[in-house]
């Protein structure tokens, strides 16, 4: 009888383990599951969702925010925040198009990318060296960039026209491979490079170390300031690249073109599982989250719902994810607090005292 209880108890323990493993797996792959559910649901029910033109449109639309999300995710993994991404995208786009008129894209694009990187360098130095909160620093940068953009443009949009410009624009927009225009291919290339860099390189792993515990990272010999500055440079550079590519495809840059990217990318990165406290997250997860949100938005439009429904749904998903994260964190801390071994050790320590 005792033996039977022993087997039953073992099974129960095994089941519990399996269940917790399953939950952990579900948590780890939740964004891929969400992606799959949205994709299948929209393909089955949203009118005209599942055709090459629409899927190409989704990929093209995703390109800008997915590119911005690459660098932004690294900043969040480091436990920091970059609120200037949208304005950096606009700023770089405006520079690229304004200078194009005089020098052509060959010179204007590298200058605009460098300008973006410069914004990141400034953010990084202020956060890492001067020790100002990244939230405050990037709000400041965001405002400065808005003013700078208005000054450069005189408050007007910047547009280009002419056969050469339109040829570049058409080249970026029309698929080279099925459903894959060059702008999308470039985005895929960026995603692969960033994913390999963050996951496989020592430098990439250092982002997690710094975000997880800055002091431990420093004690382990990591130059935490350099890592933080690099994260901000990558974030601003990718925001600049995204803005420039969008402007090149549109042959125009408007003064608020990057404004909505901020909330979009922040939401997608959090939904993708990158912790705001740092040390946790992934490039692919953020990109898949951007793609999932975009499919959701497209679906709402195809179902004939208005923009308000789209905003409501994205807000709801974000709220649910944040709630879940808070609950998971609470449970985690509760589990630590109730750990029998830990309680025993604490009791022993108390006795010694």
């Amino acid at each position: 009888m005792q033996r039977l209880y022993g087997v039953w108890g073992g099974m129960m323990r095994k089941n519990k383990l399996d269940k917790s493993k399953l939950l952990a797996l579900g948590d780890r792959f939740r964004i891929y599951i969400l992606f799959g559910v949205i994709f299948i649901f929209m393909s089955l029910f949203a009118p005209r969702f599942f055709n090459s033109y629409n899927l190409t449109t989704i990929l093209r639309t995703v390109s800008m925010n997915a590119t911005i999300a690459l660098g932004f995710t690294i900043v969040m993994i480091c436990g920091e925040m970059d609120l200037s991404i949208g304005r950096t995208a606009t700023f770089a786009a405006v520079i690229a198009l304004t200078l194009q008129k005089k020098f052509g894209y060959g010179i204007s694009v590298p200058i605009a990318v460098l300008a973006g990187a410069g914004v990141g360098l400034l953010n990084g130095i202020l956060v890492a060296k001067i020790k100002i909160n990244s939230f405050i620093v990037t709000i400041g940068t965001m405002t400065i960039l808005q003013g700078a953009t208005y000054t450069i443009t005189g408050g007007n949009s910047v547009s280009l026209s002419g056969d050469k410009v339109f040829a570049i624009s058409d080249f970026l927009a029309k698929p080279l491979l099925p459903m894959l225009p060059p702008r999308v291919l470039l985005t895929i290339l960026f995603v692969v490079v960033f994913h390999l860099f963050v996951s496989n390189s020592q430098w990439g792993r250092n982002f997690y170390m710094v975000g997880g515990n800055r002091t431990t990272a420093w004690l382990a010999g990591i130059n935490t300031d350099r890592i933080t500055i690099t994260a901000f440079i990558l974030s601003s550079t990718m925001a600049a690249v995204a803005g420039i590519l969008f402007a090149m495809e549109s042959s125009a840059a408007t003064l608020n073109m990057g404004d909505n990217s901020l909330m979009y990318v922040v939401s997608a990165t959090i939904i993708g599982g990158t912790a705001m406290s740092g040390g946790k997250g992934g490039i692919l997860r953020s990109v898949v989250a951007v793609l999932s949100l975009e499919m959701l938005y497209t679906g709402t439009i195809l179902f004939g719902f208005g923009n308000e429904v789209k905003i409501f749904i994205s807000g709801l998903i974000l709220a649910l994810v944040v709630l879940y994260e808070a609950y998971a964190s609470y449970k985690h801390e509760k589990t630590i607090g109730q750990r029998a071994v830990l309680l025993e050790e604490l009791a022993q320590a108390k006795e010694k005292i």
Binding site: F29, Y32, F35, G36, F39, P47, R48, F50, N51, S52, Y53, N54, L55, T56, T57, L59, R60, T61, M64, Y150, G155, N156, S157, V158, S159, S161, F166, S169, A173, P178, M179, H195, S199, N200, F246, E249, S250, S251, A252, T254, L255, N256, M257, D259, N260, S261, G282, L284, R285, V287, V288, L291, T298, I301, L302, G304, G306, N307, E308, I311
Partner: protein
């Protein structure tokens, strides 16, 4: 990591396969032969002239005043802002265009046609505009789908692509940005779907790809308002050698930004040279921000400020009037573009001197009517303007109840 890569690759493969398997978008279903002729006959019988807007005015009205188009200067951008010809490419956009790849009218009637209308953003004006559009669409039995990108250019571009994917019979679009509209227009034009710009003017080049444009002649309207504005300032300040004014501008980028700032600016330079521009600012469409801006102006310019020209007669006008009330400056003449309920109420109580008649319902209605006319095979001009009128206390009662 390998697992993650596999999952993403699988997702990408699924997307590609999906695209390849279902590569065709939905094609527009047209009527042919006898059906087309019958549809056209029935469509031509539809009488939309009896439709009324919420303010009791006729829903569909066309301007009979065609502007005299001057000769385009070689380089308008080289001219000073005060020269009316500096704004030639915007003010006269569409009147003289070289139409490119415009689809021919099917001449099979408007009844049953699928029309997608892409507006600029969510706003009470847009609701009224959509209501007007629906009235005409319902009269013709059209299937009208209205999309709003909420002022986001990337979303508007996406909506254009999705509309192309839907293959409707017509796309009606308010360009979010005058200059970006060129690429939007090219994209729709290349898809072979007929489209009409409305409400906001794109640049002249964008107009080449559109069937036509419908909406208010914002520049013309603002020039009229500027004259009324100057006359009132002169009346209140007889013999003044300088009349200082400031502009509360529209959102930068769109044609109203230029029309409602540089339209009056260039008009007043000739009509009332004593009017001096003290400042121009675009505080957005929030009353509190506008109030702050005007309070700053009152401190900065003091009694030099004699008038304010606003791009919006609702939130902006509210902010202006509130700031003037707090400062006790009832001597300042305020005029604004638009005729919302807020604006009309303020004209009635005398705090706003004049506003412009800009029928929101009529704007949307005219765009749909023009689409119907195209389906009916009617010859269309390059532009169809809504009539201009300046509303003052003398006739504001005629425009109640307001449309929005």
């Amino acid at each position: 990591m390998k697992k993650q890569v596999k999952v993403v690759l699988l997702a990408m493969v699924l997307l590609c396969l999906g695209g390849l398997l279902f590569a065709q978008g939905e094609k527009a279903v047209g009527v042919t032969g006898a059906g087309a002729a019958a549809n056209l006959e029935a469509s031509l019988k539809v009488d939309t002239s009896v439709l009324k807007a919420a303010d009791g005015q006729p829903l569909l009205r066309l301007s009979s005043e065609l502007p005299k188009i001057p000769t385009r200067p070689a380089n308008p951008e080289a001219l000073p802002d005060t020269d009316p010809l500096r704004w030639f490419d915007m003010e006269y956009a569409g009147w003289d265009t070289k139409k490119t790849n415009i689809p021919a009218s099917p001449k099979d009637g408007a009844i049953g046609k699928r029309v997608v209308m892409i507006v600029h953003g969510d706003h009470p004006w847009t609701t009224a505009c959509s209501n007007g559009a629906k009235k005409v669409a319902d009269a013709y039995g059209m299937d009208l789908k209205i999309l709003s990108p909420n002022w986001d250019l990337a979303v508007q571009n996406q909506m254009i692509d999705q509309s192309i994917n839907e293959r409707p019979d017509m796309i009606l679009i308010i360009p979010l940005d005058a200059t970006t509209a060129i690429q939007q227009a090219r994209r729709i034009n290349q898809s072979g779907i007929p489209f009409i710009f409305f409400n906001t003017l794109p640049t002249a080049e964008a107009m080449n790809y559109a069937i036509t444009w419908t909406g208010p002649d914002d520049f013309g309207q603002m020039r009229k308002l500027a004259k009324v504005f100057a006359d009132e300032m002169r009346r209140r300040n007889p013999g003044a050698k300088e009349l200082g004014i400031a502009y509360v501008q529209h959102a930068p980028g769109g044609s109203p930004y230029f029309a409602r700032s540089y339209g009056p600016l260039s008009e007043l330079a000739g009509y009332a040279p004593e009017v001096v521009t003290l400042d121009m600012q675009a505080p957005g469409f929030e009353a509190d921000r506008t109030m702050q801006l005007v309070s700053d102006w009152l401190t900065r310019f003091g009694p030099r400020l004699k008038g304010i020209f606003a791009a919006d007669d609702s939130a902006q006008a509210l902010g202006i009037i509130e700031a003037l009330k707090k400062a006790g400056r009832d001597d300042i003449v305020v005029v604004a573009a638009g005729n919302s309920k807020i604006g009309m109420d303020m004209v009635t109580d005398g705090s706003l001197f004049a506003i412009t008649y800009q029928t929101a319902e009529g704007d949307g209605a005219l765009a749909v009517q023009t689409a119907a006319d195209w389906f009916n095979g009617k010859e269309l001009p390059n532009r169809r303007d809504i009539p201009q009128h300046i509303i003052t206390k003398a006739d504001v009662a005629d425009f109640y109840p307001p449309q929005w």
